[in-house]
C-alpha cells in the first residue's frame, strides 16, 4: 500500500495551502496530527488525523483476564493514568458486586487527586510552551516530579502505578507516607504564587490566551465537551459531585467555574481545580489515619475468576473530563467487551476541528493544549 502519491499533479488555482500540525510537531500533544488548510494565516478547514497511537486496547482486553487488564488500562491516558485504573476497577466491582472497604476508597481518592495535580501541572507547562514561554513547563514538570516520587514510593512506578485492583488497592500506605504527602502539598501550595506571577498574571500570556478558541455553553453541550473545558463555559457540573463515586460525597470541595469559554478561562479553571485538589487532599490526609479496616475486599482466585454476565457503565472525572468505561461480561474469565470513552475522544477530534477552523495558525497549538486533549485516549 503506497502511502502517498508522488506523481506530478497540476494544482487548480488556489489561494490556500496546507499545513501539517503533527505528528512530529511541537504544536501538537503527543503523536497526533491535524491537517489544516490555510489562507494567509487563517485556517479555513481542519481535519484531525488519529490512529498513530492505536494499539487496539479494546481488542487486547478481550484476550486477557479481568485482573490482567489492570496493567493495560493506565496506558490509555499517559499523563493522567490513575482515573483509568479506578474507573476500570469500579466497573469490575459493580459487575462482581464487590464492596470496596472505606480505607481503600480514601486511598483511591488520594491517588486520583494527586494524579490530577500532576496532570494539571503538566498541562500548564504545555499550554505556556505553545505560546513560547518555556519556563512554566520547566517548573511545572519539575514540581510534578515530586508527585511522581510519591507515587513511586506508594506503588513502585513513577507513571504507571497499577496500584488499584478490583476490590481495593494493592498495599497499605508506607509508614510516614501521609507526612510526606502533606509536605509535598505544602511545597506545591507555596509554589502557586510563583506560577501566578509567572503565568496567570503575565500580561502577554493573558493577551495571547483571551479570546482564543472560544466555546460558548450551547456549543460545548452540543459537542459533548466535558470536564474543565465545560466548566470554563459556565456550566457548573462535576462528575465527582453530581454523579458521585468513591467517597467524594463525604468531601467538601468547590467546583470552579468560568464564564468566558476561551483558552484563558480553561487555564483559570484548571488553576482553581489544582487548588481544590489540594484542599481535597488535605481532607484526605486528615481523614485517612482515622479510617481503619482492610484495604482490599477479598476476591476469588483472579486467574480463574468468572464475573457474572451483565454490563455496566462507570464514569469518573479525570483531569481531562468525563472518563467512562462500558464493560460487558458474558460470565467468562475475560471481559466480553470493554469500551473506553475518553474525554479527549470528543475534545481532540470534533471540538478541535471546529475551534481551529477560522482560528489563526498562531493559535492552533494553543487551542489544542488548552483543551488538554490526550491523543492516546482517542486512538486507544
Amino acid at each position: 500500500m503506497r502511502p502517498e502519491n508522488y506523481q506530478s499533479v497540476n494544482h487548480p488555482p488556489s489561494n490556500e495551502f496546507e499545513l501539517f500540525f503533527g505528528p512530529n510537531h511541537p504544536g501538537i500533544e503527543g503523536n497526533y496530527a491535524l491537517k489544516v488548510r490555510v489562507n494567509g494565516d487563517e485556517v479555513t478547514s481542519a481535519r484531525a488525523d488519529g490512529g498513530y497511537l492505536h494499539r487496539g486496547f479494546e481488542k487486547l482486553m478481550e484476550g486477557r483476564l479481568w485482573i490482567q487488564n489492570i496493567a493495560l488500562v493506565p496506558r490509555i491516558c499517559v499523563p493522567d493514568p490513575v482515573p483509568m485504573e479506578v474507573c476500570y476497577s469500579l466497573a469490575i466491582e459493580e459487575l462482581g458486586g464487590i464492596e470496596v472497604p472505606e480505607r481503600a476508597q480514601w486511598i483511591r481518592v488520594m491517588q486520583l487527586e494527586l494524579s490530577r495535580i500532576a496532570a494539571h501541572l503538566f498541562t500548564f507547562g504545555g499550554h505556556a510552551a505553545t505560546t513560547g514561554m518555556y519556563t512554566p513547563m520547566f517548573w511545572g514538570i519539575a514540581d510534578r516530579d515530586l508527585i511522581l516520587d510519591l507515587f513511586e514510593e506508594l506503588s513502585g512506578g513513577r507513571v504507571y502505578h497499577i496500584f488499584n485492583i478490583p476490590g481495593g488497592v494493592r498495599r497499605d500506605l508506607p509508614p510516614g507516607y501521609l507526612d510526606r504527602v502533606s509536605k509535598t502539598l505544602d511545597y506545591i501550595e507555596s509554589r502557586l504564587p510563583d506560577y501566578d506571577n509567572l503565568l496567570f498574571t503575565n500580561k502577554v500570556f493573558v493577551h495571547r490566551a483571551t479570546g482564543v478558541g472560544v466555546l460558548n455553553q450551547e456549543q460545548a453541550l452540543e459537542w459533548a465537551v466535558t470536564g474543565p473545558n465545560l466548566r470554563a463555559t459556565g456550566l457548573d457540573f462535576d462528575v465527582r459531585r453530581d454523579d458521585p463515586y468513591l467517597v467524594y460525597d463525604q468531601i467538601e470541595f468547590d467546583v470552579p467555574v468560568e464564564q468566558a469559554g476561551d483558552a484563558w478561562a480553561r487555564a483559570l479553571v484548571r488553576r482553581s481545580e489544582l487548588k481544590e485538589s489540594l484542599r481535597i487532599l488535605r481532607q484526605v490526609v486528615a481523614k485517612l489515619p482515622s479510617v481503619g479496616g482492610p484495604i482490599r475486599a477479598p476476591i476469588p482466585n483472579p486467574l480463574a475468576w468468572n464475573l457474572p454476565a451483565g454490563d455496566v457503565y462507570t464514569r469518573v472525572e479525570s483531569s481531562k473530563g468525563e472518563l467512562a468505561y462500558y464493560v460487558v461480561s458474558n460470565g467468562g474469565d475475560k471481559p466480553y467487551r470493554v469500551h473506553v470513552r475518553g474525554p479527549s475522544a470528543m475534545h481532540a477530534v470534533q471540538v478541535l476541528e471546529n475551534l481551529v477552523t477560522g482560528a489563526r495558525i498562531e493559535d492552533v497549538a494553543q487551542i489544542m493544549f488548552s483543551l488538554d486533549a490526550c491523543p492516546p485516549e482517542v486512538d486507544r
Binding site: Y6, Y52, I141, D145
Partner: protein, 246 residues
Amino acid sequence: MSTLKNIPVVSHEKPSGGTGNLLANVFDELMAFCRSRSLFMLHYCTGCGAIELPPAMTSRFDMERLGIQPMVTPRQADILLVTGYVSTKTLKRIILTYEQMNSPKYVIGICSCTVNGGMYWQSYATAKKLNDYLPVDMYIAGCMPRPEAVIHGLRELMENIKKGESDNWRDYYRRYDHYLGNQQRLFGENWQTPTDIIGEARHYDLMGPETLGPHTALLEQHQTPLKPFEMTLGLADLPVRKDEPR
C-alpha cells in the same frame, strides 16, 4: 542467500585506524568528541515513553548540561527517540523521519515495546521489533524507563559515539536491502519514501554489499522516481512544449 548466517557482516573502517597522518586522526577525534557532546533529539513523541522525556529535559534532570536538547524537525536532529510501541501507521512516519535526518544519526528505542512488542505483543496494530526496520543504536528497556535510565542510556550512547563505535546509521545504507525488505513485508510491495537512500549511499560513498538486492529491485520497479530538480538553462535538454502559452 539460503543460509543467512553466511552473510558477511561488514566491519566498517574505524576512524582511528592508526594509519594516515596524525592531524587527520586528531581531527576525527575532535569531530567525534563534538558529536558526542552535542546531541539534538527530535521532538517526536511516538509513544507513551515520551512522558518521561520532559522530566529528563527539564529542571530536575536537565539534559542540556550534557549538550542534549530537543529539536523540532528531522533535518535539525541527531537522535530519533522511539519512545515506546510503534503502530504501523507511526512506523511509516518514523522511517520517513529517520530518512530525512542527516547522518550521523542515532536511533534509540526506549521502552520494552520497541524491543519485542512489550505488553502489546498480541496487538494487530503495533510493530514488534524496531531493529527490523531501522538500525537501532541503543535500547533502553523498562516500562517505562525512568529519566535516570534514559540519561544513562544517552550517556552510554555518547561514550560510544566518542569511541567511534556507534555508527549503525552506516548499516542502514550498507544493508538497505534488508531493512527495505522488512518494510516492504509490512507495508506492501510498493512502499516508497521520498528520500532516495540508494542515491545517497552512492553520493556519499556508503554503499555496502547489501545496499542493493531483490527488495531494492522491487522498489525501483514500483517507485515514482523523485529526482531533484537540477538548475538548468534548459536550452538543449528540454523539449519545447507544444502548448507553450502565448
